[in-house]
């Protein structure tokens, strides 16, 4: 196969590189990232293959798969890469691009959890764990998940019934809105 800008889909790769601030093209496939990855056993494409697929222009396979959502952001890959490819940042960039495309990915639970977590910030300012857990169970249809943990956590004061008030809520909402505005105007990715 001849590698050219077209076969590589260089437009997509450049977007990933702009978002992540690192080079996809520097990777020489030593596989060290996958060797140290605690999550590679859960992925259909281990980390080094995710990068290889990007290099070969097959980004749709990456976004459609669950590998990017099973990355734990533990940063082991970025720490150990001998060629200074910041793979953890590439994973962030890929998740964002999949997220913006309204995720063709098979992995919905992790996306749901992320969405609820971010919604919590916008609504309450701080994480409101009871709401997070309850909303996740309702929306994922796993009504009994971790049900037995609830009373244990409540009795030890680890789960608050009510959320705390935060004076900066208007400011938080403004941050979200300003970012949306910048993206609408094309001033940020």
């Amino acid at each position: 196969m001849h590698l050219s800008n077209e076969t590589m889909n260089v437009g997509f790769v450049k977007k990933v590189e702009a978002l992540s601030g690192t080079s996809v093209r520097r990777c020489f496939q030593c596989g060290k990232c996958s060797a140290g990855c605690p999550m590679s056993g859960f992925m259909e494409h281990p980390p080094n293959r995710v990068v290889r697929l990007l290099q070969l222009g097959q980004w749709e396979r990456v976004l459609a798969g669950r590998s990017i959502w099973y990355c734990a952001s533990c940063e082991t890959c970025s720490t150990r890469c001998p060629n200074k490819v910041n793979l953890a940042s590439i994973m962030d960039a890929l998740r964002k691009l999949s997220w913006d495309a309204d995720g063709p990915s098979k992995e919905s639970y992790v996306q749901l959890a992320n969405r609820l977590f971010i919604e919590n910030i916008r609504t309450y300012g701080r994480q409101y764990e009871l709401r997070l857990g309850a909303a996740f169970n309702m929306k994922s249809g796993q009504f009994l998940k971790d049900l037995m943990l609830g009373p244990k956590l409540l009795s030890r004061g680890k789960l608050k019934m009510f959320h705390s008030k935060n004076k900066n809520l208007p400011e938080i909402e403004a941050i979200f809105s300003r970012i949306e505005e910048m993206r609408k105007k094309g001033e940020a990715l």
Binding site: L19, G21, P38, M39, F42, Y70, A72, S73, C74, E75, T76, S78, T79, N86, D92, A93, K96, W99, Y109, V110, Q111, L112, A113, N114, F117, I118, I121, G125, R126, Q127, E129, L132, G133, F136, L144, K145, D146, M148, L149, K152, L153, R156, G157, K158, L159, K160, N166, K167, N168, E171, I172, A174, I175, F176, R178, I179, M182, E187, A188, L189
Partner: protein, 319 residues
């Protein structure tokens, strides 16, 4: 101002969401420890969530902006910013690191927060404050009740040391800061293999099976090395190793998981004839340090830990 000086150092404090909820004992013991060491600690008013892993996972600009705003709130309080949660620590430091070297991102963030990004305040993890600012020697001299004979596995997890260019806390593959602190407290750190492995972090909500598998490996490794307990410095690590330990035991610690265990995904409804695996209490570094400083045991939040550590401490004559 000689002997009356109340504090030897003063810090602003960013507890983070977990420390006001599932990690409350980390907050309680941090405050108790700082008081015992005569370190001032003042919470940043109306701080909000740093975005943790979920925000940077899908929206880096949002993550950087939330952290940058929190950093500017922290400017209102005197002293370096003390952070207890490894995730908040990592996000705040990452924000400083990125925005210092990337003008484009900094300008976007400044638009988002509608003001200048304040990047000057040193962000310090509690471990750093204990080992460096306060100092190991002074820490050792302050010990009132040495933790003699307590065998502890120090668990670092991911975000205290990785990626190497950001936290500046210790070596990214072979750190020793937790062991150094523990030795100063009189306890005995064990050598073990899983100090730096991931516990599954925030998959605890979306994919708890991941957490059970990864955290089981950590618990097994610590037990095999002869550790009687594990010391952590992150509320997510603590949650996964402590709150999920019953679920881990149900899945991996017995010959076979029971039907009830499968339905509820956790807990300990094992068959009664199965040989149970030992429980490993999980402490926060601040709980052990405050205990060694002579803080009364009812001021450490020990009762909040799911795997009750008090029998072990009694056995060691530390309670």
């Amino acid at each position: 101002m000689t002997p009356a000086k109340k504090h030897i150092m003063h810090y602003s404090y960013f507890p983070g969401c977990s420390l006001h909820a599932s990690g409350r004992e980390y907050d309680i013991s941090t405050r108790a420890l700082f008081k015992a060491l005569r370190l001032g600690l003042q919470e940043v008013p109306d701080w909000f969530c740093c975005g943790a892993t979920p925000a940077h996972n899908v929206d880096e600009l949002l993550s950087l902006s939330l952290c940058a705003k929190n950093l500017s709130l922290a400017e209102e309080v005197e002293g370096d910013l003390a952070v207890a949660c490894a995730a908040c620590f990592s996000r705040l430091k990452t924000t400083q690191h990125h925005l210092k070297k990337d003008d484009v991102k900094r300008k976007q963030v400044e638009t988002a927060i509608d003001g200048p990004a304040a990047l000057g305040k040193p962000v310090k993890h509690i471990l750093e404050i204990l080992a460096r600012d306060f100092g190991l020697k002074r820490l050792e001299e302050s010990v009132k009740k040495p933790l003699m004979g307590l065998k502890v596995a120090c668990y670092y997890g991911c975000l205290l040391t990785r990626p190497p260019e950001v936290p500046d806390l210790d070596d990214c593959e072979d750190p020793s800061i937790m062991e150094d602190i523990l030795r100063a407290l009189g306890a005995e750190p064990v050598k073990w293999s899983h100090r730096m492995e991931c516990c599954g972090a925030n998959f605890t909500l979306s994919r708890p099976g991941v957490v059970l598998k990864l955290s089981n490996a950590i618990l097994e490794s610590a037990q095999a090395a002869g550790a009687e307990c594990i010391m952590v410095a992150c509320p997510l690590c603590h949650g996964n190793l402590d709150i999920r330990q019953g679920g881990i035991k149900a899945k991996y610690g017995q010959p076979e998981a029971t039907l009830m265990g499968n339905i509820f995904g956790s807990e300990n409804q094992g068959s009664s004839d199965a040989e149970p695996r030992g429980e490993t209490p999980i402490f926060y570094v601040t709980q052990l340090a405050a205990l060694a400083m002579g803080v009364p045991s009812d001021k450490l939040g020990l009762e909040s830990i799911i795997i009750d550590p008090r029998p072990l401490l009694k056995e060691k004559n530390l309670l």
